[in-house]
């Protein structure tokens, strides 16, 4: 019996991949990397990796001479681990090992304002954008409205809101939340409904002017803000952290300049229509605020409705 070091290394790496993916689910860290709606795919990965690991185990003791059946005929565009070690192979294994090493040693971080600055917030996009494009957006809105009437689709559940997600709300719950948006004394931007309320308010800032709003987010300052202004932001994640986009409200209050980037705040304030670079947008005139710890669910995910 001869130890095949390349197959041994492959077995170890596959084993570590199995543990890495399983560990993400056991610790719940998965939500720090991807939208939990992809739970299923990464759970499937655990299963496939485990099968591959079991298949790989006996190959560790497969000597260089005793070829497996395939080696007679499949000459190779890939490496079956019979060759000698060379520099390229070592580099190859090092590359595969790299994400495992960083994945096990470095805890996942929450995206912060440095990433937001690279992506550019809503405000900077507005200021570099052209206003004529509003007609395009309006036409989209009209389309979706007429579609709603025609097919009797609940516009709030589907408009701007993608497929499946673990952010489940029944249709009834969602309707109720929508009613709160219209009637309640305070608009409470909780994580589960954030994106829905956010898009409603941004579509029509005038309609919500004067209403009280309560939300939490991280401090993000960019560009030429007045001293009393900052954007209270969240990252909106569709699929994985790499596709995050920044959403948030421009807020105004005394002492905004004292606050550090990335500190988390919970604020209450009154909505007003503001103007940024000639573009109308909602502004929150803050009446009270608190510094809070980063919440367990820092990211906003799309909403999924349960249709009975």
């Amino acid at each position: 019996m001869q130890l095949n070091t390349q197959h041994l290394l492959k077995a170890v790496l596959i084993g570590l991949f199995t543990l890495f993916f399983a560990n993400l689910h056991l610790t719940g860290d998965i939500a720090k990397y991807i939208n939990p709606k992809y739970d299923f795919m990464s759970k499937l990965a655990v299963g496939i990796f485990f099968i591959l690991f079991m298949i790989q185990l006996p190959r560790i003791f497969q000597g260089k001479r005793t070829h497996h059946v395939c080696s007679v005929h499949c000459s190779h565009s890939h490496d079956h681990g019979h060759g000698h070690w060379n520099f390229a192979k070592i580099i190859g294994f090092a590359i595969v090992a790299f994400p495992l090493i960083t994945g096990f040693t470095i805890p996942p971080a929450t995206l912060d304002s440095s990433i937001a600055a690279n992506k550019g917030s809503i405000l900077s996009q507005i200021s570099s954008g052209q206003k004529e494009e509003k007609s395009f957006e309006e036409s989209l809105m009209e389309n979706s409205e007429s579609l709603t009437e025609k097919e009797n689709i609940d516009i709030y559940s589907s408009d701007h809101i993608p497929l499946v997600n673990n952010n489940y709300l029944t249709e009834g719950e969602l309707k109720e939340k929508e009613r709160w948006l219209q009637d309640s004394e305070i608009i409470d931007m909780s994580e589960d409904i954030f994106i829905s309320y956010y898009s409603r308010i941004n579509e029509n800032p005038e309609a919500f002017a004067g209403r009280t709003i309560k939300l939490s987010g991280f401090v993000f300052k960019e560009g030429e803000f007045a001293v009393n202004q900052l954007v209270l932001s969240r990252f909106f994640i569709t699929h994985c952290v790499a596709d995050a986009s920044v959403i948030g409200f421009l807020t105004e209050f005394e002492g905004a300049d004292q606050l550090q980037q990335d500190s988390w705040l919970e604020i209450e304030g009154v909505l007003a229509v503001g103007n940024y670079d000639g573009y109308e947008l909602p502004i929150v005139k803050v009446t009270s605020w608190d510094v809070i710890n980063e919440p367990n669910e820092p990211y906003i995910f799309p909403i999924q409705t349960l249709v009975q």
Partner: protein
Amino acid sequence: MQSKLKISTQFLVVFMLGISISIMFMVPIFSSSDVFTLPKSFNQFNTIFLSILIEAIPFVLIGVLIAGFIQIFITEDHIRAFIPKNKILAVFMGCFVGSLFPACECGIVPIVRRLIEKGVPLYAGIGFLLTGPLINPIVILSTYMAFGNDLEMALYRMGVGFVAAVAIALVVSFLYKSNQLKRMNKNQNAFLKEGKRQLIGTRVSEMFKHSIDEFFDMSKYLILGAFVAALLQTYVSMQFLFLFGDGLIHSTIVMMALAYFLSLCSEADAFIGASFKNIFPSTSILAFLVYGPMIDLKNTIMLLSVFKAKFVFVLFMLITSIVFTFVYLTSFL
């Protein structure tokens, strides 16, 4: 000399194993102390890097399993019977099968390599490569929803994408006679004869072994691609893209560059595309939606592992120019 080298590499392997095992034990120590402090931006980079991998690896696993299946169970005869002799028909066939096949742009690379090795003509394989990630139910549904339940953008995406893929594959069919693979199977026929004699159990376990080796082969390039894409997101401001000025041509180029460098999965990119609808005309967003699934940074690196570099470069230029032209033409509709 030879044996010395062998010993030292064996030592290296044991050394690497030792490191990975010790890492497992040191995780709790590291995470609870301040000894191990990296710059904050590295943590941000690492999170984005890993998230791309966590998102992509399940799809790559499925891709290598399918590739392993093709390697062991599909013979050249099957493929010969299936693919039309006529070049143009074969291109349409490739694009059509790709449209039915739900894949993502990293999972499809090993499948295409295996198909071409089995005798699928290059142009049909390229058609399949281009439409596979672009046209499938999940992508269409997510596009429909991302654009506020508007079917128009999803239809344009499918239509323009399909026509562009056919055009690209046709040009490839006239430019290249050989299969452009880096390395080629020489003993396929030997496999055919032997393959039939093997028991089903042996063949299934062979399939998994192929998948394992293919996984290590492919994941290196996926990891490199994810690494570069995450570096760009962490350290380069996307604002520089907006410096090129206004105009349809400019904004289309900007959106295509964005699609290339962000290397998003085709199932998620519609929402990112939609977030630009206040800034850019719909034509430019269409370019983003069609171009990204066909080619992007991480997928280029994977293609380089399969095809000759020169061919990848020509393919990149073809995809870029043809998608740009076709999308631009839609603005006159």
